[in-house]
């Protein structure tokens, strides 16, 4: 047995396409195993459905980090500075004054050497006090020493300041900088640009605006009318690249969905393809073996299913019942089980059941189901393994297509779901190519690998078909 398997693999690897296909499939399986163990499914679904709050420290619609390797213009990474995680560039001092006040000073400084502006700038606060909320003033200093007061505010126990969304600040900065360069900034310059740009004529046009490289400082000064006060602040300078896969419109790491999409796509495709082939084969065999009334019922049933329009029925089912991906798999199997394959298999089995060895099996007392399972199906199985492998991509694509039509599992992170999101939020219109290309390339690679393996298997199992 072992030697037979070995010979089979030698034969298989003789075809380079099979070796490549097999290698890709193995990599995909490896990714799947990694995904399953690294991020349990529930955790993945939770992360994927957590909403924007969970992902607040990620940039929105960020490109994958590796684009920086190929581009001379370095896009910014996200910079996170937090007083609860002290490190160089972060300092916090809360000094009680006369036992009745507290003076608060928090300072962040960071080096900014990128060629593009950050996408957003946010400040989050966590504070502890009894009755009197601290009052804070936020200051900003550019590398050249220009200083701005961003805002003054009284914070609650859990508070935030979306600096980049502060329209009043934007207007104010525009006015101040316009005065410095002696020309009016005509366009609606965002805060991130105004806070990070060189303050010369280049700032007058968004396409010429340059990043001022160097060390930036943000410091917070404040007072609280209480002795026992604590304030932690977290500054996030959102970049324009994130992780190995980028993020989507909800700041989610697309990598999670790409990772988890792999086992889902593979299992969906393989389970659907194998179980549909086996069920159709079994129905075909039962039909051909028993003939008579059984055959009539099964064949009429098959014909009914053959004329049922597959996609509209799936659309109907998933509109009425919000189904998850595994139920969807069952629906697909159920609708295809009585497919046209039944007719093909029945025709094959009608021929095979007349073989003398089947008659011999009847003569030594084999029962009908034993004959179907051990004498009819094994005869056909090798010839259909290639087509089983070849039809895996059909179902992988089907899952993606259903997701794009909005009929997929609303929870599961799948490749199709990413494409659906990308489509819905205008990824291509906004130039976010990575969002569409990443899942698409994975889909294409998956189907390519199964196709390459399937064609080689076909040559091995059905050599006569390929001679012509």
């Amino acid at each position: 047995m072992a030697s037979r398997a070995k010979r089979f693999f030698e034969q298989l690897l003789f075809y380079r396409s099979a070796a490549i296909g097999l290698a890709i499939i193995l990599v995909l399986v490896g990714i799947s195993v990694y995904a399953i163990f690294a991020i349990p499914y529930d955790e993945a679904v939770r992360l994927w459905r957590a909403g924007e709050q969970h992902w607040l420290s990620n940039p929105r619609n960020a490109l994958p980090s590796w684009v920086n390797i190929f581009s001379s213009k370095k896009l910014p990474e996200t910079i996170i500075l937090d007083t609860s995680e002290p490190r160089p560039g972060v300092s916090k001092a809360i000094v009680p004054v006369l036992g009745r006040f507290s003076r608060i000073r928090i300072e962040f400084s960071f080096d900014y050497q990128y060629d593009d502006f950050p996408s957003e700038l946010n400040l989050f606060f966590k504070s502890r006090f009894n009755a009197s909320a601290p009052q804070l003033t936020v200051h900003w200093a550019k590398p050249n020493g220009e200083e701005y007061v961003l805002n003054t505010m009284i914070i609650s126990r859990e508070d935030k300041y979306y600096i980049s969304n502060d329209d009043r600040l934007a207007r104010e900065l525009r006015r101040l900088i316009s005065a410095k360069v002696n020309r009016t900034i005509e366009y609606d310059a965002p805060v991130t640009l105004l806070l990070f740009a060189e303050e010369d004529a280049s700032i007058l046009n968004p396409s010429t605006a340059k990043v001022m490289k160097g060390t930036y400082r943000l410091w917070i000064e404040g007072m609280a009318f209480e002795a026992n006060v604590d304030v932690d602040a977290r500054l996030i300078v959102y970049g324009k690249v994130y992780g190995w896969a980028g993020t989507d419109h909800l700041r989610r790491d697309i990598g999670i969905a790409l990772l988890w999409g792999t086992p889902i796509a593979l299992s969906f495709g393989v389970v659907a393809s194998v179980s549909i082939a086996l069920i159709q084969m079994f129905i075909g065999a039962v039909s051909a073996w028993f003939l008579g009334r059984v055959d009539t019922v099964l064949q009429r049933l098959t014909e009914v299913f053959m004329v049922l329009p597959f996609l509209p029925v799936v659309i109907m089912i998933s509109t009425f019942y919000k189904i998850n991906i595994w139920i969807l798999l069952l629906v697909v199997i159920g609708l295809t089980a009585f497919g046209s394959g039944v007719k093909n298999y029945r025709a094959m089995f009608l021929q095979i059941k007349e073989f003398p060895y089947v008659e011999a099996a009847r003569a030594y007392g084999a029962g009908s189901f034993r004959i179907i399972a051990r004498y009819l199906i094994p005869k056909v199985l090798p010839t259909i393994i290639p087509s089983m492998v070849l039809s895996v991509p059909d179902f992988v694509f089907l899952e993606a297509a259903l997701a794009i039509l909005g009929l997929g599992d609303p929870l599961a992170p799948t490749w199709g779901k990413i494409i659906d999101d990308a489509f819905t939020y205008g990824a291509l219109y906004k130039g976010l190519y990575y969002w569409v290309l990443e899942p698409s390339v994975l889909l294409a690679i998956t189907s390519l690998s199964f196709a390459m393996l399937g064609f080689a298997l076909d040559k091995i199992f059905n050599p006569r078909l390929k001679e012509a």
Binding site: P356, Y357, E359, A361, A363, Y364, G365, K379
Partner: protein, 326 residues
């Protein structure tokens, strides 16, 4: 007189071929049309006839691979004519089938061991060791030795003769009482035919098997059968002991069959054998009279083409269905 094993009475097997418009008219091929036959324990008989005469159908109907249309099959005093599938299971154990095409008769995806194990598993041999013992024994019995060399091979790795021995091994592994051998050597090389026939004969003697040997070749019957049934167009037309028939054929059809056996004498190589002219009758609509009369050289007008002849016992144990002896 030894014990009777099998009695077949007036056995008929019709196959429905087509219906007329709207299924009103039905046509039947009368493949076996009223056959009587008895077989004692340990006896070997031959059924001889040309292609399409119904001899294979007769064999398979006796094994109940076909449901008989009419008549009775009695095996060891038990009527098995219309038993259902489950009740037939014991009968399957008591009977074996050896088919014409040994390669076709073996499932190509099973090993020798698996092929021989199947009947044992089906008939409830639960103990793996016992099954293995039986497999070794039967392979040695059919001389596929050394057994270790064969046990894990697939059928296509065996020669034609070895395949047929494996088929025979499978048919006797349940130690049946009756074997139907349907042209077991007609697809084999002339060189291994005798070997296979000798093996069958040997097994028949040592297991006290009853064998129904179906063939179109009278010359191979003398190897082991004690009686011969000559079949023509779904009827048995003559039956007698092997020697008696070879020495003293009575039915014109038997005579014709004996006549066409190739003659090893080289001096006769240019003599043209006399072959009965014409074709066997259409079994959908056979003549109501003697079925051989259109081809018969000694036909009696007004009798043979009008009335069906009865089975006449001409000598002791020598029956002929012909008006010439009536």
């Amino acid at each position: 007189m030894s014990e009777q094993l099998l009695r077949v009475e007036n056995l008929k097997k019709y196959f429905e071929v087509r219906r007329g418009l709207f299924g009103r008219r039905r046509f039947y091929v009368r493949a076996v049309d009223g056959v009587d036959l008895t077989l004692t324990k340990g006896e070997a008989v031959s059924i001889v006839g040309e292609s399409g005469c119904g001899k294979t159908t007769l064999g398979k109907t006796i094994l109940r691979l076909y449901e008989p249309t009419d008549g009775r099959i009695i095996f060891e005093g038990k009527d098995i004519t219309h038993l259902g599938w489950k009740e037939l299971k014991w009968y399957r154990r008591e009977t074996g089938l050896v088919q014409q095409d040994p390669f076709g008769a073996l499932p190509p995806f099973m090993t020798v061991k698996r092929i021989l194990e199947e009947p044992l598993i089906i008939h409830g041999f639960k103990d793996k060791r016992e099954r293995e013992e039986r497999i070794y024994k039967v392979l040695e019995r059919v001389r596929l030795t050394p057994v270790e060399d064969f046990i894990s091979k697939y059928p296509h790795m065996l020669s034609g003769g070895q395949q047929q021995r494996l088929v025979i091994a499978r048919s006797i592994i349940l130690e049946p009482k009756l074997i139907v051998a349907d042209e077991p050597v007609s697809m084999l090389d002339a060189s291994v035919r005798v070997e296979i026939l000798k093996l069958l004969q040997d097994l028949q003697k040592s297991y006290n098997l009853s064998v129904i040997y179906i063939t179109h070749d009278l010359s191979t019957t003398k190897y082991f059968s004690e009686r011969i049934f000559i079949m023509y167009a779904a009827h048995i037309v003559e039956s007698a002991g092997t020697r008696e028939i070879l020495r003293n054929p009575m039915h014109p059809y038997t005579k014709a069959l004996l006549n066409v056996i190739p003659d090893p004498d080289p001096s006769n190589r240019f003599t043209i054998k006399e072959v009965p002219t014409g074709e066997p009758p259409n079994l959908i609509d056979p003549p109501p009279s003697c079925r051989f009369h259109p081809r018969c050289p000694s036909v009696v007008k007004g009798l043979c083409d009008v009335k069906e002849p009865p089975m006449i016992e001409v000598d002791k144990g020598h029956y002929v269905k012909c008006w010439l002896y009536g």
